[in-house]
Symmetry: C5
Subunit: 82 residues, 5 copies
């Protein structure tokens, strides 16, 4: 899993029907406590806010955190780091 | 998921039968609002045009956005960024 | 699989329900015997401690090491290197 | 998906039984029209020749292009770029 | 798939039960005939020895080369390059 800081939201009006209702967040990855130049877009499942440090699951495991595990995504925010 | 800008289309006449009818787009990845030197080829599901900023799902989740989830691909354009 | 050294734990109180009870470890990846600047967060299944060298499985295979293979993760510590 | 140029074949006499009959090609990845220093080994499904530009699917989607989707591979040449 | 040269073995006494009996090899990846600084740990299925050049499958496809496809791994040596 990855750790990152939420830096923004991504709005997409024209999207696949199965993604309607998903909240896309832009997350800047953190390595060894330092912010990197790597970014990922993830669906939020824990009510994360901008500036919060979050835990992200990628790949097929990400979908298991969603109500519908057939959602076409590859990254989900699964926790907020204390 | 990744964000990128559509930079072109890829035409392949000789291809696997299960890919016939798929529209392949070349997408230049964007990180932190800047275009990178990284590119991905993705199947378009939302009618994206050249120059548009799009949201891409990779891996097994990508196929879930297609009419046939057994299509042999690993990247699909699932949304257009507003 | 990857080899790394456990460098810390990650605490997340607000997280997906299916992750409750999972122990998240921060692992610094090792290549050719040298510590790198790459880090991964993995669920521990073998009682690894800080400073120990561990073996990590990523992707869908990681979940197969957990009691519940539907846990939304993508990295699990599956062994401690002697 | 990735685009690359076929640069050679890989011969392996001692291999897993389920890979017997597969034709392994070495492909040099192309980004933005330029050849990179990245290479991948992929099973050919479209009769690609050395020097041809090809489209590669990676991951679990790659196997869906093969007659037996249980073949232990992670990359398949699924098309030849015109 | 990846090509690499076997550089050593990895011994792990404390490991997940489902990995007991697996032989872990450290493989240095080769690109364009040159050894890189990238390493991967893979389960050997073809009796590869140190110094031999091998073909590695990663991800979910790797497990399909094992007797038990539920083994929690993400990389398997599936062939020895001639």
């Amino acid at each position: 899993m990855l750790i990152g800081k939420v830096t923004g939201t991504v709005v997409s009006t024209r999207k696949c029907e199965s993604l309607i209702g998903s909240k896309f967040m832009e997350v800047r990855l953190i390595k060894n406590g330092k912010e990197t130049e790597q970014y990922i877009i993830a669906i939020d499942m824990v009510g994360a806010g901008i500036g919060e440090e979050v835990l992200i699951t990628t790949g097929s495991g990400a979908r298991l955190a969603l109500p519908d595990s057939k959602t076409p995504t590859d990254a989900v925010i699964v926790g907020i780091v204390d």
